[in-house]
């Protein structure tokens, strides 16, 4: 039996810090200014407490830390408040899961959002719930979408000003995706952006026939926000059906894109589509990392993006201009990007009846787990699956509301979602790496190679440390400048989450 537990390590610092959003900040750099743990004392880190969760499912939630209290979600529909010094619970909110919920990849919930005294949580039955921070009691709930039609809300909400922003998962269920903003006080819908343009909306012409109705375009990982530009950036999931691209000719906007939306109105400012007419389930839901770079002598508001399709991108986040694109893992589905950043597809790589091998495999070169950017090193860090492939099969499938709608199947040598405690394959099936990239050109600066792949995100600190973990069950610290391993501890379970850091009462 696998045991999942929250675990906190004594990440001690003198400067007070909370962790108030899924990505730690609106810029989503997963970089902390805390600096008391250093390369020279990191080896002294010890386990402080363990909190046992009820659920045995995989955690993909990032906790929030506000004034000494941890607020975190547990699978399937539970929110918990925990004392960060002792690990003891203050309260627990549990919402029943109706039997008809049917999510593709486990009863996942990626965490909460907070505004004032209110916490916000998405649910597997596709609702947004507001909870009182002190009691865990429900203040209101609002229906986001119809869960019996395959919609769920697994994303951690993002609070921007007086609005709470969420969208659905369900790209493998024939949903038609969106991103929506709700009034933080009442739950009333303020705006809704259709990630699959409806008839009459710009971009609808990139779909043929009725394919848009089941076009996917989920929004299952929390985006970023630039207060100065007042733009929300959000990654959009795969088109549906995943592996039968033949029934949806066209570029299939805005699947596999990043969209920049006006935070007040939800109006589209710009978009960039990483994988037009995706055939391999390359959701572009990765965390948009917002950084201001000295770009060849001039300041530039940039967005860094390690994409599931295996390419690293740098975009200008004011207008979506393509600046850099370079593969960070082995990929065979394209022969490169053109000057505008659009991929040139390689022949013979479409899913087929007999199966087509493509690198990267279905979990991509990277996926939902958070990357990081350190302003001190200037490097972009990401967790990658290297030398990893999948055989993609296609077939015709009739859409039935709420049921699986993938138009094919996959076969990977590596387990895509979960693993048992045995690792016994060969390196040719793929392996995990932490990579540091130079954002100016996408070149690899260093890498930390693992035996197994990893679903763990990355945290960097002002003391030039990098924290991450892997499916082998290790939680580790690396030198952010060199990639040298400085400390490692086996936790007895896979690490499938992104690390955070905080202080409480000065430590």
């Amino acid at each position: 039996m696998r045991i999942f537990a929250f675990l906190t390590l004594a990440l001690v610092s003198v400067s007070a810090q909370n962790w108030t959003t899924y990505n730690g900040s609106y810029a989503s750099t997963h970089y902390s200014t805390l600096d008391q743990i250093t390369p020279s004392n990191v080896a002294n880190l010890n386990l402080k407490w363990v909190a046992q969760a009820d659920s045995l499912e995989k955690f993909e939630a990032t906790p929030l830390i506000v004034d000494g209290v941890m607020y975190v979600s547990e699978p399937p529909n539970t929110a918990v408040a925990i004392d960060t010094r002792t690990g003891r619970e203050y309260w627990r909110y549990e919402r029943p899961v109706p039997p008809a919920t049917f999510v593709c990849c486990g009863n996942i919930n990626r965490g909460l959002a907070i505004s004032g005294d209110t916490l916000y949580m998405g649910t597997l039955d596709a609702h947004l719930v507001a909870l009182d921070r002190s009691t865990g009691r429900k203040k209101w709930e609002t229906k986001v979408a119809e869960y019996t039609h395959g919609y769920s809300v697994t994303v951690a909400p993002l609070v921007v000003k007086d609005k709470v922003i969420v969208g659905p998962a369900g790209g493998e269920r024939g949903i038609s995706g969106f991103l929506a903003a709700y009034d933080a006080k009442t739950g009333k819908e303020i705006w809704k952006f259709h990630t699959i343009p409806q008839p009459g909306e710009p971009g609808h012409e990139t779909w043929s026939g009725d394919a848009w109705k089941t076009g996917g375009g989920s929004t299952w990982v929390t985006g970023s926000y630039d207060p100065e530009l007042n733009l929300i950036y959000w990654g959009i999931g795969n088109p549906g059906p995943d592996w039968n691209p033949f029934v949806r000719p066209g570029n299939n906007l805005y699947t596999d894109s990043v969209v920049a939306l006006d935070a007040d109105t939800g109006k589209l400012k710009w978009y960039f589509q990483f994988t037009p007419h995706d055939e391999w389930d390359f959701d572009s839901v990765q965390v948009p990392v917002l950084v201001d770079l000295d770009w060849h002598g001039k300041p530039r508001k940039a967005m860094l993006w390690g994409n599931r399709n295996g390419f690293f991108y740098v975009l200008d986040r004011t207008n979506g201009e393509f600046l850099v694109g370079k593969p960070f893992v082995k990929e065979t589905w394209s022969s490169g990007l053109d000057d505008s950043g659009k991929p040139v597809k390689a022949p013979g790589k479409s899913p087929s009846i007999g199966g087509t091998d493509v690198y990267p495999g279905v979990q991509g070169g990277t996926n939902w787990y958070s990357p990081s950017f350190s302003p001190r090193t200037g490097y972009f860090y990401l967790t990658a699956w290297e030398d990893y492939h999948t055989a993609y099969f296609t077939f015709d499938e009739e859409y039935e509301a709420g049921k699986s709608f993938t138009g094919g199947s996959i076969r990977s040598p590596l387990p895509a979602i979960s693993r048992d405690p045995i690792i016994n394959w060969g390196p040719e099936w793929g392996y995990g790496v932490i990579r540091a990239l130079n954002p100016m050109n996408g070149e690899k600066v260093w890498e930390y190679k693992m035996l197994d792949v990893s679903d763990a995100g990355i945290l960097t600190t002002a003391s030039d440390l990098l924290f991450s973990g892997n499916r082998e069950g290790y939680f580790f610290a690396l030198d952010a400048r060199t990639g040298k391993e400085l400390w490692k501890r086996y936790l007895g379970m896979q690490v499938a989450d992104s690390p955070i850091t905080y202080t409480v009462n000065g430590v």
Partner: protein, 267 residues
């Protein structure tokens, strides 16, 4: 189901990839769990049995589908095409089934192929049992009789999981492909000790092995001078060690080693 779990479920020493191209195998299909096979059987009865017979062994208007030989192509893709597109000029029409159902049908056909192979083995299973014991197979394998070694896979239900051709290949070319849970390790410690075993598990820092005597041991990579994980089976080829008759009888014996459920299905 993960590839590795599937391997473990089958407990097979040999992963016969080359055969997949010719005959296909359940493990090579996108939908291949026992549930899929069961669903495939259900579809078969409603869609196919009226022509091909309830047990797929052939009817008055359509051929047997359990022999492993298919007139219009026996690869997985061929079968998929035959089912979904039909065969012009014959009674085989195109079936408007969903892709998943087609794969489940194919999984059922593959399982049937295996289920029927015991009765079709040309050798004498009783004589094959004598070959098994005289040939020393039990030193490394068990046939479910309560004795036997553990260096190689458990063969007590091998007939339920592999076709005759696959079993033959395992005997004559054991290293064609060795399942990862039986990959041998050869390590030398910094102190100069040489260690042999089967790799059971591995991470960045350590390797868990079972030594030939059954002793479980963990090797720390930092303490090793060198280590090598081989894909070669320690089993010799029996190609020239057995007469053609003995080989045939041995295959018949191994094919007769079946799960209780599969036993019922084959009758």
């Amino acid at each position: 189901m993960s590839f590795r779990r599937l391997c473990r479920g089958c407990l097979l020493l040999f992963w016969l990839a080359p055969l997949e191209a010719q005959h296909g195998s359940i493990a090579g299909l996108p939908f291949s769990t026992p549930k899929d096979v069961q669903a495939g059987q259900k579809s078969f009865r409603s869609q196919c049995a009226s022509c091909h017979g309830l047990d797929a062994s052939g009817g008055s208007v359509a051929p047997s589908l359990v022999s492993g030989a298919f007139k219009h192509g026996g690869s997985d893709e061929d079968l998929f095409n035959t089912i979904t597109k039909g065969v012009p000029g014959t009674a085989m029409t195109a079936f408007a089934l969903q892709g998943r159902e087609v794969w489940q049908l194919i999984a059922f056909l593959r399982s049937t192929e295996i289920a029927h192979s015991a009765g079709k083995a040309p050798g004498d299973a009783a004589k094959g049992a004598q070959v098994y014991h005289a040939g020393g197979c039990a030193r490394c394998h068990t046939d479910g009789s309560g004795t036997g070694g553990f260096t190689g896979p458990d063969l007590s239900e091998i007939g339920s999981h592999r076709t005759l051709a696959e079993i033959e290949q395992s005997i004559v070319d054991p290293s064609a492909e060795v399942a990862p849970e039986y990959w041998p390790v050869l390590a030398v410690t910094k102190a100069g000790e040489t260690i042999h075993g089967i790799r059971l598990n591995e991470d960045m820092d350590s390797i868990q092995i079972r030594e030939s005597g059954g002793h479980l041991r963990t090797l720390m990579k930092a303490e090793l001078r060198s280590w090598e994980i081989s894909r070669q089976s320690p089993m010799p080829s029996f190609k020239d060690r057995l007469s053609a008759g003995d080989l045939e009888n041995l295959i018949a014996y191994l094919a007769s080693l079946r799960e209780p459920a599969a036993e019922g299905q084959s009758k």
